[in-house]
């Protein structure tokens, strides 16, 4: 039986961490783009767009991410479409992230006081101008801390993709456990690596929140 040193284990885990990071980035960036589209459909004036976005968000928020992964992976397989694990994982995470970000951002836009809408309307601005110059710049500031905070959920969400066979940090942990028979050590290291990824994110979310609040404590 081959002996694994601590370094062997750690090195393999860190190599797999690259995929956790890539998947997180892809999910977050892709999710932001889809989420932005959803946001505008949701707060826009088109009735059909509102209903679609609302339904989309409720569907993705109301089902476990794991089921979405299974459906993307096995469901499309049933239709005869061969979906590689990385594609199913990426798509499911993008759509899932988009639903949550759209809802977070909607809250930010709606938290802008009605007086801001009225004042800009009374100056003759149209809906798009109000959005562009008055509402979104303010909502953007409010949105930064919760958005960065949610990115932690995305990083942790990528762990689920191990179940459909995508080899990222969690999957690598399982593989290493099977090879070394040291589950506590391996999963302990896995947890530490996740922590090292997530803690700076949640910390910066807190810092940002404090910083942006201080700048705007008077209104």
């Amino acid at each position: 039986m081959t002996e694994f040193s601590l370094w062997d284990i750690l090195r393999n885990l860190l190599l797999a961490t690259r995929w956790t990071i890539v998947l997180s980035l892809v999910s977050f960036v892709g999710g932001s783009m889809v989420g932005l589209v959803l946001l505008f459909l949701r707060i826009g004036k088109g009735r059909a767009g509102q209903i679609f976005a609302k339904g989309y968000i409720e569907l993705f928020q109301g089902t476990p991410l794991l089921m979405q992964l299974f459906l993307a992976f096995f469901g499309l397989g049933l239709l005869g479409i061969d979906v590689p694990a990385w594609l199913a994982a990426g798509l499911a995470l993008i759509f899932w992230t988009a639903a949550f970000l759209a809802e977070i951002w909607r809250g930010c836009v709606e938290s802008i006081a009605r007086g801001q809408w009225e004042a800009s309307a009374s100056l003759g601005m149209g809906y798009l101008q109000q959005m562009r110059y008055v509402v979104l710049p303010q909502a953007f500031k409010i949105a930064i801390p919760p958005t960065v905070g949610f990115s932690v959920q995305v990083v942790k969400g990528t762990a689920l993709t191990s179940i459909i066979g995508f080899v990222e940090l969690s999957k690598a942990g399982t593989v290493m456990t099977n090879a070394t028979f040291q589950p506590f050590l391996v999963y302990g290291l896995v947890a530490l690596i996740y922590f090292a990824l997530c803690w700076p994110l949640s910390k910066s979310s807190q810092l940002l929140e404090r910083k942006l609040n201080v700048a705007h404590r008077n209104h």
């Binding site: 100056l123 601005m125 500031k141």
Partner: protein
């Protein structure tokens, strides 16, 4: 010809009829105070003139243009009538100068330099030229309200609607805002203001409108309305204060 013609305006919120047929004609240069108990419909009336609330029936004409609910007509109307709010509603993410410049460049497409010159002129007019680069949160309530006035003036409206513009201010800040309004009145600006400042209404306004339960109950020069109220409701209202 009247600048603002309000004819048989009715407005309900659900089952609650707030305006029950309002008729007021405002001549150019007139300063009109609208007084009355809360819930009498005075703020709603102002908001209707600016199209922030849609009227159910009747008509509102400003300088010959009809108030219609579509965006094109609304925007045309809003360029003619500025509005000042109780809560100032300055844009907190922009400087004082930015607040006054924004709508000029975005709505009127005024070139940046011209808009800035106009902003400086209007801020000087309300005595705040030196605050051009400050942010609203750094100003007192009275100063913020004066910036709001400058912001509305920069659009060169024909009339200003003032919705309880001193009600959110500390007592010692009320006068600096009223002084600006008084100056505007003296310069011939048409003003329609909902106010609780009875002294100001008496001193500055050309006519006072007393609203009661969604109707214009009494209307006339301040001397008459305040010294010789005709109806028990107005007597009671004035006695209350």
């Amino acid at each position: 010809m009247s600048l603002i013609a309000i004819t048989e305006v009715k407005k309900s919120f659900g089952d609650n009829q707030v305006l029950k047929g309002i008729n007021i004609d405002v001549m150019p240069g007139e300063v009109i105070a609208i007084i009355g108990k809360s819930g009498s419909g005075k703020s709603t009336l102002l908001r209707c003139i600016n199209g922030l609330e849609m009227i159910d029936s009747g008509s509102i004409m400003v300088a010959g243009a009809q108030l219609l609910p579509d965006e094109v007509h609304l925007r045309a109307l809003r360029l003619k009538v500025g509005m000042i709010f109780q809560q100032f509603n300055l844009f907190p993410h922009l400087t004082v100068g930015g607040n006054v410049i924004l709508a000029q460049t975005v709505v009127k497409k005024t070139p940046k330099a011209e808009a800035e010159a106009m902003a400086r002129k209007m801020l000087d007019r309300v005595g705040l030229g030196h605050k051009f680069d400050a942010y609203p949160e750094e100003l007192s309530g009275g100063q913020q309200q004066r910036v709001a006035i400058a912001r509305a003036l920069a659009m060169q409206p024909m009339a200003l609607l003032c919705d309880e513009i001193t009600s959110a201010l500390d007592p010692e800040l009320v006068n600096e805002v009223l002084a600006v309004v008084k100056e505007l009145a003296a310069e011939g600006m048409t003003l329609l203001m909902v106010t609780h400042e009875m002294r100001f209404a008496r001193d500055v306004c050309s006519r006072v409108v007393f609203m009661h339960q969604g109707l214009v109950h009494e209307i006339g020069p301040p001397g008459e309305v305040f010294s010789n109220p005709q109806t028990p409701e107005l007597k009671q209202f004035l006695g209350m204060i």
